[in-house]
Symmetry: D2
Subunit: 263 residues, 4 copies
C-alpha cells in the first residue's frame, strides 16, 4: 500500500492557499458563489448556470421543511434527550430520510431515467404521451405504482408541481425527465381510471435528473434540503419547545399489556 | 393531553396551499428565495437582507469541505459498507461534527458572546484592543485557549479570515463579535509572546454570531455546510472510489497483538 | 386523538415497581436473566430455553467483532473527531451495518425462509438435498447468488459454520433453516461446478431464523452483537489509539486533481 | 506512512482460524462465553469472573428498556419513515443517549471516581459517611447536583438500587464506588434537608466503575443495554405498531403560527 495516493478535486490546502474544486476558496468562492450553486458544483464538479442554480434552489426550497414530519419530531426528541449533541439531533432526523418519507424524489428520478434509457426520445407532445401511456400501462401490469403520482393531501394538484414546471420553463430547462413526468400526468387517467396529482417530491426528482445530478444521490439532495429544515426545527424548539410535550403525550398514555409471544 | 396543540411557523399545508414561514411556498419562495437565504430564514424566522445572505453564504462556503477529513472518510466508508442507505452515510459523517473537528466555530462564537455580554461595548479600536487584551490575559490566566486562534497549516494567516472580514466590511456587517475577534488578532502576541493566525473556523463563528444566529446552533450551520460537502464526497466516491483502498490499507496492515488487560 | 393509548409489554413503572416483559425487573430479571437471554426475550416476548439462549449467544459471539472492518474504523474516526459523543461514535459505526458488510445474516435467513414457505418440509436428508438442489438451480437460473455461500478468506470452510451446527445439534435446535442451509452446502457443487464454503454470517442467519426471531430484524441482532464489538473498539482506541494515524494516512497522501465534470 | 501497522487484540483471521481476544473464536468463545461476559471481555481485554459477569448483566438488564422514552419513540418513528434501514432506526435511537436521558450512569461513575481519586479510602462505615458528607457539602456549595440522587417517579426508593447492592454483595463486589454511593444515600439528608432516592442509573454507574470498566465508556454500556431494548421496541412495533399514531397525534394537532423573528 506504500504508494497509494488518494485523489480528490474537492478541498485541499497548502500553507497559504485553500483550494476547492480547482478554485481559490477565499478569492473565488467566498462572497461570490451562493450556497445552492456551491452544492450543485460539489456534486457535479461543474459550475451550474444561473438558470440551473435557480431550478436547483427551487427544488431545495420545495423539500426543506414539511412541518411536523417524523424526521422533524425525531430531531426535536433527540435534542431533548441529548442537548449536548446538535450533530446527533440532526443526524437522527436525517436517518428518517429513507424509502417512505423522503424516497419519492429518488424513486421518481430513477424511474423516469430507466424508461428514457430504453426508449427513443420523443420529439413532440404526442410522442411523449405515447411513451407515458406505455409506461403507465406496463407499470400497472407489473402491479407497481408510478412514483410521484398521488398525494394524500393535495388531491387536486400539488402547488409545487405547477410552479416547478413554470420555473424550469422560464429557464429553458424542461428536459426529458420533466417532459415524461408531465406526460404521465396527462395520460394516466386513461389507464388508471382516476386522476391523481403529480406530487412535489416526484417533480423534484424529475427536475434533479434533468439537471444531470447523479441518480444515486437524488435522495442526498432531499437530505441536504432537509438539513436546513431541521436546523430551523431546532431553532424553533429552542424558543418554543414542544418535544417534551410530545414525549409526555406518549409516555403518560402508555398502557402496559402482557407479553405477546406469538411470532 | 387532550387539548395540546403544537404550534409552528415552519411548514404546514392545506389541500391547496403549502405555507412555509408564513409565505406561500410555491408562489413566494420557490424560484425566488435562494437556498442560503432560506436556511437563514428558517433558523431565525426573519428574512435576511442581501448583505446578510452574502456573509452567511460565504461562511457556508468556507466550511463546506476540507478534503479528506475524518467526516469525509467516514461518509465514504459507510457508503462502501451500506450503499443502500445514503442517509446513513451522510448521518455518519455528520456525527464527526463534534468538539474537535467542527466545534471551533461554535466555541468561538460563544466565547466572544460571553465576553461581550459582561463588558461595555467599545466605541473605537483602542477600546476594542483593551477589551481583547483583558480577554486574552484572563483566558491565559485560567490556563485555557482562545478559540479560533492558531492553525496547524496556515501558520502565517488563514486566507478565509482576511476574506470574511473583507466581505463583512463590504456589506457593513462587521459587528461586535468580529470587532472583538479582530482585536484579539492584533493584541494576543503581547500576552502570548507569539503571533498566531485567526483561523477560518473561528472567524466563521464570529460572523454567524454577528448575524444574530442562535449561538446554540452555530455548530448546526457548520453541519449544514458540511452536508453539501459530504454529498460532494459521495458523488466523487461514486466516480473515483477510494473507500475500499482506505479500508484495505488498514485491514491489510493489521497486526494481532495479545490482549492488554490493564485498565 | 384524545383517547389514544399506547400499549406496550416492554418497560413500564409505577412509584414502587418497574416492570419489564411482565416481570418485576428488580426481583425477577436483575441478577437472574443473562443479557443474551434478555435480548432474545425482548425481541420475541417469550423467555428462551437454556439451549435457545446458548445458540443465540453463540451467534452474537460470531458476529461481535471482525477487527478493522469499515464499521470499526468509522467508530474510531468519529470518536477522534467528536470525543464528546460516545453515542455518535457507536451510531456512526452501526450505520455501516447495511447490505454489504452485515447484511448477509438477514439476507440468508430471509432466503431460506422464502424457500421453506413454498415447499413441503422434507423428512430425510435425501429430501433436503433435493430441495436444496432445486433451490440452487433456480437461483442460478435467475442469475442470483445464494446468500451465505462463499467467503473471500475462509475458502476451505468458515470455522464458525461447523461450530454453530455443532452447538445447534447439541441443543437439539437444528431446525428447517439450518437443515436447508446444510443441504445447500452439500449439493451446490453439482450445480455451480465448484465448492464454496457456507459462511459464518449465513449460518448465523439460518440459526436466528430457526430460533423464531423476526426475519425483519435479523440485521438488528447482527447490530446488537456489533455494538458490543464497537464498545470494545473504542476501549482499545482509548488505550492504543490508531484513528489519527488512519486519518493522516489518507490526508497526507491526498493528491489534488482537477474537477471531472462528466456525469 | 509506509511501515505503519495497526495493532489490535480484537478480531483477526487467517484462512483457517478466527481469533478474538487471543482466543479461538469458534472453539473457545462460541457456545462457551455468554454475550454479557463477552461484552465485558471486549471492553477490558480480560475475562470477567462469574460474579463480575452477574453484576454486569444485572446492570445491563436495569438499563435495557424504560418503555416509551424519547429514544424508543425515535427508533419507532425512524423505522416508520425509513423501514429499509434497521441500522438507521437503531442508530437514531442511540443518538438520544446523551447527557439527559442516559447520561446519569456515566456522570455518576465519573463523579464518584473523581472523589475517590483525591481522598484516602475509608476503612469503615463511619469513614465512608464522613467522606460522603464532605462530598455532598462541597457539591452543594458549588451549586451543583450529586449525580444519581433523586428520581421523578421512584420518590421512595428505586427498586433497582436496592437490588443491585444486594447482587454486588452476594458476589463480594461492593467496591469503593458503591460504598461511597451508599454512604451518600445515608448522609445527604443532613446536608440537603430532604431525603432523595439513589436512582438506578446512578447505582449502575457506581457498579460499572467498581468493575473496572473504562469511565470514558460508561455511557457506552448504557447504550449497549439500550440497543437490546431498541431491538425489542422494533419487534413490538412490527406486530403492534404505534409510530404512525404518534406521528399523527403531533401532525394533526399542529397549529400554524406567524414567524417569530426575535432572537
Amino acid at each position: 500500500m506504500t504508494d497509494r495516493v488518494y485523489e480528490t478535486a474537492l478541498g485541499s490546502s497548502t500553507k497559504d492557499k485553500i483550494t476547492l474544486l480547482g478554485q481559490d476558496l477565499a478569492e473565488d468562492v467566498m462572497g461570490t458563489v451562493g450556497f445552492g450553486e456551491l452544492a450543485f458544483w460539489l456534486a457535479t464538479q461543474r459550475r451550474p448556470s444561473t438558470g440551473e442554480t435557480r431550478v436547483f434552489e427551487a427544488v431545495l426550497a420545495a423539500l426543506a421543511d414539511h412541518g411536523f414530519t417524523p424526521t422533524a419530531i425525531v430531531t426535536r426528541l433527540t435534542y431533548l434527550s441529548a442537548p449536548d449533541s446538535v450533530q446527533g439531533a440532526l443526524a437522527a432526523g436525517l436517518l428518517g430520510g429513507g424509502s417512505r418519507f423522503l424516497g419519492v424524489t429518488e424513486d421518481c428520478g430513477r424511474f423516469l431515467h430507466d424508461v428514457l434509457a430504453t426508449a427513443e426520445t420523443p420529439t413532440d407532445e404526442a410522442g411523449w404521451d405515447a411513451l407515458a401511456l406505455d409506461t403507465v400501462e406496463k407499470t400497472k401490469a407489473a402491479k407497481k405504482f408510478v412514483p410521484g403520482l398521488g398525494h394524500h393531501v393535495h388531491k387536486d394538484g400539488d402547488p409545487r408541481t405547477r410552479r416547478l414546471f413554470e420555473i424550469a420553463d422560464e429557464e429553458g430547462l424542461r428536459g426529458p425527465h420533466l417532459e415524461l413526468f408531465a406526460a404521465i400526468g396527462r395520460v394516466h387517467p386513461r389507464v388508471l381510471g382516476k386522476t391523481l396529482p403529480l406530487n412535489g417530491a416526484g417533480v423534484c426528482g424529475a427536475a434533479l435528473a434533468d439537471l444531470g445530478l447523479p441518480l444515486e444521490l437524488l435522495r442526498g439532495f432531499a437530505l441536504l434540503a432537509r438539513t436546513a429544515g431541521l436546523v430551523g426545527q431546532l431553532a424553533e424548539e429552542l424558543r418554543h419547545p414542544v418535544a417534551n410535550d410530545v414525549f409526555l403525550s406518549v409516555d403518560l398514555n402508555n398502557r402496559p399489556v402482557p407479553p405477546d409471544p406469538q411470532r
